[in-house]
């Protein structure tokens, strides 16, 4: 993979000015001929991480495929806010069928393209609920058959479209409409949830990556890499949801970055089930930097902070740092790191 070690700190956000990069490394969004695949005018909330992630991801797909792409969307916020009939924000061929079948529908589109002799990239996309819960059977089947589909999960850690209920991706202690902030253990219990990208890796598919709207350049690059590979590919993108997380819309990027920089959401790539790259943490932050700006975790920080719970979350972040070798002082992760 093309890479260039750059450390520019002038903006305080690790932003790298495009003009400092070679042409092919420049952001898709920085070009005037970007596709605007998810065009303006849609009805996402202010500061919606999912809208941002999708815009970057699908535009990157469109650039990498020279516009020869078709998207299949699961039911969820992304589908609802983008296509209130008769309007549509999508500037590419786009199909929505159901909540739990996007991977299978995408696999079918891909089969049709193959039999009709068309070279078209097919992407599937959905929220965490549509991906790791109700669509998981279809996703696993698509992986197992190694269907020629790039599937992108926009993980905002709950069923947002139906009013913020818990999903299999909701983190411990998070309050949702079905894991209320009451009782002995307020919010989501520890020990639940599933690690979808690791499960994707366990299928041995050609490409798995995690990405975040905190690092849109990295996101674009991973999408571009994935488009260049045939077979089943999976990208899991962490996308804050101001409405569901109870966070300031202006802080979407900052919160996403805190998830990455604390180690709670490690960024990595895997090929054929083996980890090949993990992005180092630039400046480690405590998990409280991530938790505190979100109302869903407010119960941890009351008059008597729930130190035990915060420590357990910190331990999860620390374990990730250890497992993926996220700090500079660590060796690169052993190439055989597998679940």
């Amino acid at each position: 993979m093309k890479s260039q070690r750059l450390k520019f700190y002038q903006t305080g956000t690790f932003t790298v000015g495009n003009r400092l990069l070679s042409d092919e490394m420049r952001s898709v969004q920085a070009t005037v001929d970007r596709n605007n695949s998810l065009n303006s005018g849609h009805r996402a909330c202010q500061g919606c991480g999912e809208a941002l992630g999708a815009r970057y991801a699908v535009d990157a797909v469109m650039r990498a495929t020279n516009g020869q792409a078709i998207a299949v969307n699961a039911t969820g916020c992304l589908e609802v806010f983008s296509t209130p009939f008769p309007e549509s924000s999508w500037r590419l061929a786009w199909l929505h069928s159901l909540f739990g079948n996007a991977p299978a529908v995408a696999a079918g589109v891909s089969a049709a393209m193959r039999v009709r002799g068309k070279k078209v990239t097919v992407i599937g996309q959905g929220g965490d609920g549509g991906t790791v819960d109700i669509g998981f059977g279809c996703l696993s089947g698509m992986f197992e058959r190694n269907d020629d589909v790039l599937y992108i999960c926009y993980d905002n850690e709950a069923y947002m479209n139906t009013g913020v209920q818990r999903s299999g991706s909701t983190p411990p202690t998070a309050i949702t409409a079905t894991t209320q902030g009451v009782g002995e253990h307020p919010g989501q219990e520890f020990g639940g949830g599933k690690n979808a990208p690791r499960i994707a890796m366990a299928h041995g598919i050609p490409y798995v990556a995690t990405a975040s709207v905190a690092d849109l350049r990295d996101l674009e690059e991973k999408v571009t890499t994935a488009v260049g590979i045939r077979g089943a590919r999976y990208i899991h993108i962490h996308v804050p949801c101001p409405l569901g997380w109870g966070s300031d819309p202006a802080l979407t990027i900052q919160i996403a970055r805190a998830a990455v920089q604390s180690g709670l959401f490690p960024l990595y790539e895997a090929r054929h089930g083996r980890l090949v790259k993990a992005t180092k943490i630039r400046r480690k932050v405590p998990v409280t930097d991530y938790l505190q700006p979100q109302k869903r975790f407010a119960h941890l920080f009351g008059k008597t902070p729930n130190v035990a719970a915060i420590d357990r979350i910190q331990a999860i972040a620390d374990a990730n740092i250890e497992d993926y070798g996220l700090l500079d002082s660590h060796e690169d992760p052993p190439i055989s790191l597998q679940i």
Binding site: A93, L95, A106, G108, A111, A112
Partner: protein, 425 residues
Amino acid sequence: MSTFMPGRKQVEGSHAVAEAIALSRPQVISCYPITPQTHIVEGLSAMVKSGALSPCEFMNVESEFAALSALIGASAAGARTYTATSSQGLLFMAEAVYNASGLGLPIVMTIGNRAIGAPINIWNDHSDSMALRDSGWIQLHAESNQEALDLHIQAFKLAEQLSCPVMVCMDGFILTHAYEEVDMPSQEQVDAFLPPFVPQQVLDPSDPITIGAMVGPDAYMEVRYLLHHKHLQAVEVIENLRKEFKRHFGRDSGGLVSSYRADDAETLVLAMGSINGTIREAVDEMRDEGHRIGSVKLCSYRPFPLEALREALKGAKRVIILEKNLATGLGGILASNTRMALRGLNTPVNTIIAGLGGRPIPKKSVVRAFRQIETGEVEEPHFLDMNWPAIHEAINNRGLVKRRESEAQRVLRSVSGVEVAKPVR
């Protein structure tokens, strides 16, 4: 060039259908195994693997829900698509069944009709396709393997003409597993009848459209009406296809309804599927005894041909519906629908619920029931060959036997003649 052998031959129903599907040149097939439809897709899978059916993608998916979902994608992307299922499989894909018709995708699906559990049962009745009767799919019922084969070829043309999905229903085991002689058309004949698929809407990167947008109260009713309208149109298209098919293949197959010895009949029996053969024999026997009885076969259950059916039945003094399903607490579903076709006519309609879960429907039982209905001695609905002692025993024991045994097991024991356990208190 055809890889298949046209002409008359003795084959299993499933293989006859598989060959007819192959002759229809599907481009994407996906499937999931369930008895009794499995032999069809196994046959197609072998044809794709050997290259006899090409170009075609065969997808072995992880569930029926995925099978139909994959076809939704493939059909929207411009491919001719096919799958088959039965019973639990059809219910498992139910959400996608409605979705396919809502999106107007001309998918063709065989239903090897089978009962639904619990209690789990693999044998034939019509509960499965009936459960999805208002899903917006066209539902055609085959009487014989020849008709099943022919209906599949018609189904692609019908589906694609209307941009509406079609189920071809064939009785599980009775047809799917029966070896019968069929006349297999040639590839050239099928090609002349069935042109390549030209989708009415398609996912195409060079002309991008949004398919499957959210529709609110302002337009949803109109969208549903348009699907209703397709079914109203289908009534005409189905009859036209019957004529066109006859011109091409020289056989009468499909259509809305077909009558048998009905002209001067006082009693007309209406039924769907393979049981029509038995009914015609019963009609012949009773005609010989001087009964003025005839029968009407319903091929197109959805669209439900109100006018054609009324026309076919209106001369009768009484109508008997023999059907293989049960709307619990109500009676027969086909009977309810037929009463709508006969509204205003005051024709008495009797229902015979028969053959649930594969219970054989012998001619002598059928004749007995017809005679009893003619003399007015039966309850409505009439359950053909029901073991009433077993039912009464089960009802009497209800609430007494609390553990260890389900009601189904109890009935089975009592039917099999083994002593029923003493009530446990």
